[in-house]
Each structure stands twice: as C-alpha cells, then as structure tokens.
C-alpha cells in the first residue's frame, strides 16, 4: 500500500476541502474502523453507522484538529467513543469504568494445566497444548470469524482495543499507547492477556471440533 501523505500535509489538504485527500483516508481507514466498531456493537449495520457517524464528526471537527496526536489516533478516538456510546445503548457493553481489566498478575493459562509442587515436573505442562489443524490459507472460515468477533467482544475494552489495533490492524505499539494514554509495559500486558484469551477460545474450538 502506498504511504499516505504526512499528517501536516494531509490535515492541511483536508482543511482546504481537498476531496481527493478525504477520499484517501476514507478508503484507507474505513475498513479497519468498521472492524474495531464491530466488536462494540451487535450488527454489521450498526458498525457501519458508527463508521459513518465518525466520519461526519471528522468533517465537522477537522478545522479544530490541533495535531496534538496523529490524525489517525484522533479519528480512532472519535470512533471508539462513538462505538462505546452505541454499544451501551444496545446493551452490548457496560460502560468501561465499571469493567475491571483482570489483574495483570493473574495467570493467562489455566494453572491446572501445569504440574504442582510434588508432581514430577513442577511448573511444566501435564499435557502439551493440542495440535491445531493446519491454517486455512488466507480466508477464515465463517465459524472462526464469528468466534473471533465474539471473543473480542468479550474482552475488557482496553484489551480489545489493543489486540484489534495491534494484531488486526497492524498498528505500531507506540501509536496504541498514544491512543489509550498508557505505557509500553502496560500495552504489552493488555496485548498479552488479550492474545491468551483469544488463543484459549480458538483452542477450545479446535479441540471440540476434533472430538466431535
């Protein structure tokens, strides 16, 4: 993919009502925005409306954008706020202040899978994780896709944002830290917990599939 112009150029063109610049960001970012929005709300239609609403707010507010964050971070902040409001309205989510991210000291893998003191190899696997079927190349099956979306929706909000932006969208860690106002170490913990959770869901799915 070609690089977008640097922010200063992009923002100036947007403020100058340069339609081609707007089309550029619209086409580049809407897909990822939809994907993140989808984890907040219950339907594709609803996610599409969140994206639409976000872009309208961007058009409305671009003249006041001060460049204290990157343009993309600013837009995603509007997106997550919009998606959250709608998720709450759809009773899909609890406002995030009420959701505690699970403690970072908690193990991310069920401790029962490891041997205890007194067993032959304390701290080691009783049984290695089961082998997963070979990856389907590129395209995800419908079931796996739904499972992933459901797993994302179950995550505490910050974990969901971190894993969606890092793994689904390929954002660099620094930009995610900026969006959420968190440290690199904190970002890593959130990503780690989120990946372990989603891996667990995939594991359950693949092992059930193998035995059914």
């Amino acid at each position: 993919m070609d690089d977008l112009p640097v922010d200063s150029v992009l923002v100036r063109r947007l403020c100058d009502r340069d339609e081609s610049a707007f089309a550029l960001v619209l086409d580049r970012w809407s897909g990822g925005m939809h994907r993140l929005a989808r984890s907040y709300v219950s339907t594709e239609e609803s996610a599409a409306e969140v994206v639409q609403e976000t872009w309208l707010a961007v058009i409305e507010g671009i003249d006041h954008f001060e460049g204290r964050s990157s343009l993309r971070t600013w837009i995603y902040r509007i997106l997550t706020n919009t998606a959250k409001r709608r998720g709450v309205r759809e009773h899909r989510m609890i406002p995030s202040d009420e959701v505690q991210d699970t403690g970072s000291g908690e193990p991310t893998v069920d401790p029962r899978r490891f041997q205890s003191a007194g067993d032959p190899f304390p701290g080691h696997w009783w049984e290695a994780p089961a082998v997963w079927p070979a990856p389907e190349s590129g395209v995800l099956g419908q079931e796996v896709r739904e499972l992933l979306l459901a797993a994302l929706a179950e995550l505490p909000e910050r974990q969901r944002i971190v894993i969606a932006l890092r793994d689904a969208e390929g954002w660099p860690a620094e930009e995610v830290c900026e969006l959420l106002g968190i440290t690199a170490a904190n970002q890593r913990v959130l990503l780690h917990r989120a990946r372990a959770f989603v891996r667990g869901k995939l594991e359950k799915y693949y092992t059930q599939e193998a035995t059914s």
């Binding site: 619209l26 701290g123 696997w125 690199a184 995939l202």
Partner: protein, 78 residues
C-alpha cells in the same frame, strides 16, 4: 542455572515477540523452547491467533455511504 518453568514461559510469549525481554531472559526463553514441545507449540498458537485476527475481513464503506460522505465533505462551508 535458573531453569524456566512452562507456566512462566507462557506469560513471556508476548514480551518475547515484542522483543521486550532482556538478552538473558530471551536466551533462557529460547533455550526452554528448544527443549519443550508444549511451549514451542504454545508460542506458535499465539502467533496463529494474531494472524487469524489479521485475516478478519474489514468491510469497506458501501458505495452509497462513501458517496454521501464525500458529498457532505464537499458541501461543508469552510
């Protein structure tokens, strides 16, 4: 020598993938993986989890909403 346990290794996978371990920690991690199929597979599955998320479809705007947004952008007074 300070041997890592599997239950510690599984908590280090993201730090490893993010290159956030110290050189000594990274060495211990890699050494453990070389001897432990369970942890090697666990790391691989974490990678596959990230790849699966990357493969989630990202729906583009419909032609109508794209056109509507461009129209709004165009006609908005400066």
């Amino acid at each position: 020598m300070n041997e890592l346990e599997c239950r510690q290794v599984v908590e280090q996978v993201t730090a490893y993938l993010e290159r956030a371990l110290t050189p000594a920690e990274e060495q211990a991690f890699v050494d453990h993986l070389a001897d432990c199929d369970g942890c090697d597979r666990y790391l691989d599955q974490i990678r596959r989890t990230a790849q699966a998320l990357e493969a989630l479809p990202a729906d583009a705007l419909t032609a109508e909403s794209r056109a509507a947004l461009l129209e709004t952008f165009r006609t908005r007074p400066s």
